[in-house]
């Protein structure tokens, strides 16, 4: 997008330069015309750049790029997977807490409560298996985790919340719809 903006912008500036030089040549000294040209160029540049930047901000929604920010050796976990792991650790802690030297981090309880609020599925392993099918279409691990955590009801919801997938909607529409219908079978009955 930015490349297109740049290419579109530059010829416009050059043509305005040519116009200014043509006008300048007819009028007074060449120095004065050069100054006019420079000012025009700067204002054109400023105007062009501002428009470009504003256009960029309006057009580009927030893109999820988990893989770019992920630390080395880390993998993403869905909330339901994390809930299982943290609950397992807490069950063990009931036994271990008799030993006063063993203590859990402060964030552990808050993390566990957060996952318990978002338990939408009966079986995290099955959810993972269903969503793994999207990887063959280039959907990343981070995007898969967000889809699972969001608990979407329609394909429109998935593409609205994950603009990174919107560009490939034509290819992903059917697979996403299939995955959502499979996930609906795995949803916890409330």
């Amino acid at each position: 997008m930015s490349d297109k903006g740049g290419k579109g912008f530059t010829p416009g500036v050059k043509s305005s330069l040519k116009d200014a030089s043509a006008k300048g040549g007819k009028d007074d000294g060449s120095a004065k015309s050069k100054k006019t040209r420079n000012v025009q160029f700067a204002s054109q540049a400023k105007g062009g750049k501002t428009d470009g930047a504003a256009g960029k901000k309006e057009q580009e929604p927030l893109q999820l790029k988990v893989e770019a920010e992920l630390p080395k050796g880390a993998i993403c976990l869905m909330d339901c997977e994390a809930a299982d792991v943290l609950q397992g650790i807490q069950d063990q802690m009931v036994i271990l807490s008799k030993d006063p030297t063993i203590k859990l981090p402060v964030s552990f309880d808050r993390g566990l409560q957060y996952t318990k609020k978002n338990i939408h599925y009966t079986d995290p392993d099955s959810v993972r298996q269903v969503l793994e099918n999207l990887k063959t279409y280039g959907v990343t691990d981070g995007e898969i985790c967000v889809i699972a955590n969001v608990y979407p009801e329609t394909a429109d919801e998935v593409f609205a919340l994950l603009p990174s997938l919107k560009a490939r909607r034509i290819m992903l529409d059917d697979p996403v719809s299939d995955v959502l219908s499979e996930l609906a079978k795995l949803k916890k009955k409330e």
Partner: protein, 175 residues
């Protein structure tokens, strides 16, 4: 988002904790690792450290000269929580201000939602201030689905501050 990371670290065991029985040594290493976790609270790369999942491998110990302590290289996996730009989260409102609301998302206390990122919501002052639009209300205790705009690591406090928004479809109060 929750992360599972394999990490390598060194655990120093004082000489008095060492025992002829192998199990007690493993327990001492585990306890030290947990202690370190609890103290560190969070890191810039991993986010909030929640739990130690498994100790995968304990390497050969090296005796440190002068102190008599033994240093063990340890490989372990840990669960942490970190916010990513563009991620969709649910947070609970714990403070309502004129300029916006403060949310709690999991272990992160300071998640800020500015009023400028709450299109169509208007501030209504009072004893229990709220934000209203024609359909719903945002007040203390309400759960909101938000998008993460950015997160900042505060080295001194060892915690994150995050900025979120409601400025897209399918975001807002969750019933």
């Amino acid at each position: 988002m929750f992360l599972k990371t394999e990490l390598q670290g060194n655990v120093v065991i004082p000489a008095e904790s060492l025992d002829a029985k192998g199990l007690m040594l493993q327990k001492a290493i585990f306890v030290r690792l947990l202690d370190d976790f609890a103290k560190r609270k969070a890191t810039k790369d991993l986010g909030y450290l929640l739990a130690l999942k498994t100790v995968e491998k304990i390497g050969e110990g090296k005796v440190r000269q002068h102190t008599g302590d033994v240093l063990f290289p340890v490989t372990f996996s840990a669960i942490s929580f970190k916010l990513f730009r563009g991620e969709i989260l649910e947070g609970v409102v714990h403070k309502v201000l004129k300029q916006g609301v403060m949310l709690r998302c999991g272990p992160i206390e300071n998640v800020y939602l500015s009023s400028s990122k709450m299109p169509d919501f208007n501030y209504v002052p009072g004893e229990n201030p709220v934000f209203y639009n024609n359909v719903s209300k945002i007040e203390k205790g309400v759960t909101l689905r938000v998008i993460v705009i950015g997160a900042k690591w505060l080295e001194a406090e060892r915690e994150f501050q995050a900025l979120v928004g409601l400025h897209a479809d399918y975001l807002g109060p969750v019933p």
